[in-house]
Amino acid sequence: MDFSFTEEQTLLEDSVAKYFQNDYDFDSRQQLVKSEDGFSKDNWSTFAELGWLGVPFSEEDGGFGGGAIESMLMAENFGKGLLVEPYLATVVLAGGAIKHGGSAEQKAKYLPGIIDGSTQAALAYAEPQGRFNLADLTTTASKADDGYVLNGYKAVAMNGPAADLLVISARTSGEQRDEDGVSVFVVDANADGVSRRDYPTVDGMRASEVTLEDVKVGADCLLGEEGQGLAIIERVIDDGIMAVGSEAVGCMEVLYKDTVEYCKTREQFGQPIGKFQVLQHRMVDMFMEHEQSKSLMYMAAMRMDEGYGPEAQKAVSAFKVQVGKSGRFVGQNAVQLHGGMGMTDELNIGHYFKRLTIIDTLFGNVDYHLKRFGRL
């Protein structure tokens, strides 16, 4: 098995890595978290210029034609830098739904705005009662005139506050948890009947509760076939898992390295605490958790690039299970080994820990993915 990257992939990764080294330090990141928008529109423009926003889209659609490996390499670096800009929500999730489910006309209508940075988007797929079940929907879309009318409530739509477009899953037929009868719509976030309640999330980003009251959309807003939308959501969520899982791998690398450095310099009892065997063993354990996660990250990305199907889904679930467990372990131990400093808000450690804790829960926790892994 070949783990080497192509020259193009290496160049892409180097450019992303360099950006984070030079232009995205932790203190600036913290300022963005506290800012009104929660991220920098200037940064977003830079990402557009660098071509990052187009990486996962095909060349016909104006993108770079990148696959799972390219997205993985970028996301790993996003994780190292604790990116707050909504790449996941706009490009991977919402953009991904349009890419996987949209017609040629819909792609031509929506993707250019995403790729050039002028459009923000959010995928509103979750609901309060559903937890990780993507098919558990009470939001409805009833047929009316030459379109649909949406009614319902979507929970924790990441990047909801800034979104110009909302990609929404709603039920056009069937019972609440039926897999058939789910449809996906692209909705103007400022349309009549759409209201949002915005809030910050624990990992430094923003999300919204979205209420839909008699929201009218045209038939051309439906992505793919009516009632067949669950497949689009499932595919996009797997892309999302690859993205946040890769971010988690990047977070773990930073936490491990920072912890080793800290233990070498922090002195107590007359010596650097890194001389204590128990802590050395703990750091070895942290290293192993990171490497196991990284290894499954590569495997999952390779399987996804080989073709989306049960094998790829199985690899993605295995990756998510590993990342959930490893992220928790590395995050918690990094905090512990940093002692009192680990508790503070000013140190980066706690913020990486929060991001890892959230990623464990996003798109299905360890138990959920163990079940999916076992089923496939």
Partner: protein
């Protein structure tokens, strides 16, 4: 070890017997006072005429009691007057177990198998050609023994086979049994180990620095095998208790499922084998030494690191 250290002539002499499965070998490393701490090794080789004289005690020699040859670690003591030998003056010798002065005693382990041996070397005469290699750094040899790369890298395959055994037993259980979910968890760990082995091999093949010390692969495969073994035993429920000997099994047939007794025995053997190459803590110590030496450059991607000869 022969491939790595022995001369062409020695390889020509010893390897054919190994290939043809005619002659068995065992590695004699540990001593009662010197196990994980190889610096305490007391087995001594003194020059005698053209050859050598070996004196000392070895223990926990895996498969030693059946071995035709021993690959034996010893310190070279060139000055017969000096009581202390140089700590780093280590050597490897090919010792025929039928030589005068060599006594093998089987050591019984708690899994009921007689897999190990104690070796007494009482003034054993060896020709010059028995010296396989010398090192000024005993740690290098000890290291090689501890981390025998090939066997470590194949452990995920062993675990895969064990997973199949578990799956066969799980099919007989209630689908709602929690063991199924525990099986899934171990299967994920096994996939991670496989991926790690592949990355390691890929780095070696491309002559890049390996991404992690091999001790950690050894540790992980051991942990996974022990978990799998535990699940296998648990899957038999009460039938993990019977411990019939061969005679009873032969005369009266199995007690419970016919794979139960063998599985339980094998699990015990795995716990014994978990100490080959040192305890988990020892492996972690060794891994830490290596990790500590690496520069933690956050800027440089791993794949651009300069290749090193050491793991």
């Amino acid at each position: 070890m022969l491939l790595r250290y022995a001369s062409a002539q020695q390889q020509a002499r010893y390897l054919p017997g190994i290939r043809a499965l005619r002659e068995t070998w065992a590695v004699a490393f540990a001593e009662p006072e010197a196990a994980i701490d190889h610096t305490a090794m007391q087995t001594v080789a003194q020059p005698a005429g053209d050859g050598w004289r070996l004196q000392g005690e070895k223990c926990w020699v895996a498969q030693g009691h059946q071995a035709r040859w021993l690959c034996c670690f010893a310190r070279v003591q060139e000055d017969p007057e000096s009581a202390h030998t140089a700590l780093r003056n280590a050597a490897l010798f090919a010792v025929p177990t039928n030589a005068a002065g060599v006594t093998l005693t089987a050591e019984k382990t708690f899994d009921g198998a007689q897999q190990m041996a104690a070796v007494s070397l009482d003034d054993v005469s060896l020709p010059a050609s028995a010296l396989l290699a010398r090192s000024t750094d005993g740690a290098e040899f000890a290291h090689l023994f501890v981390t025998t790369e090939m066997s470590t890298l194949s452990q995920s395959a062993v675990a895969r086979a064990q997973l199949d055994v578990l799956d066969a037993q799980l099919q007989t259980l209630d689908p709602a049994d929690d063991l199924h979910s525990q099986r899934a968890a171990v299967a994920v760990e096994l996939q991670a180990l496989q991926a790690m082995e592949l990355r390691y091999v890929d780095a070696r093949q491309r002559q890049l620095q390996v991404p992690y010390p091999i001790e950690l692969l050894r540790l992980r495969s051991r942990e996974i095998l022990l978990k799998l073994g535990a699940l296998q035993v648990e899957s038999f429920g009460y039938y993990a208790l019977p411990y019939p000997d061969e005679m009873l099994l032969h005369n009266e047939g199995p007690i419970g499922p016919d794979t139960a007794a063998a599985t339980v025995r094998q699990n015990l053997t795995q716990h014994v084998a978990a100490l080959y190459a040192g305890s988990a803590e020892g492996l972690k110590d060794a891994a830490w030494q290596k990790l500590d030496r690496q520069k933690l450059d956050k800027q440089k991607p791993d794949k651009q690191s300069k290749p090193e000869n050491k793991d």
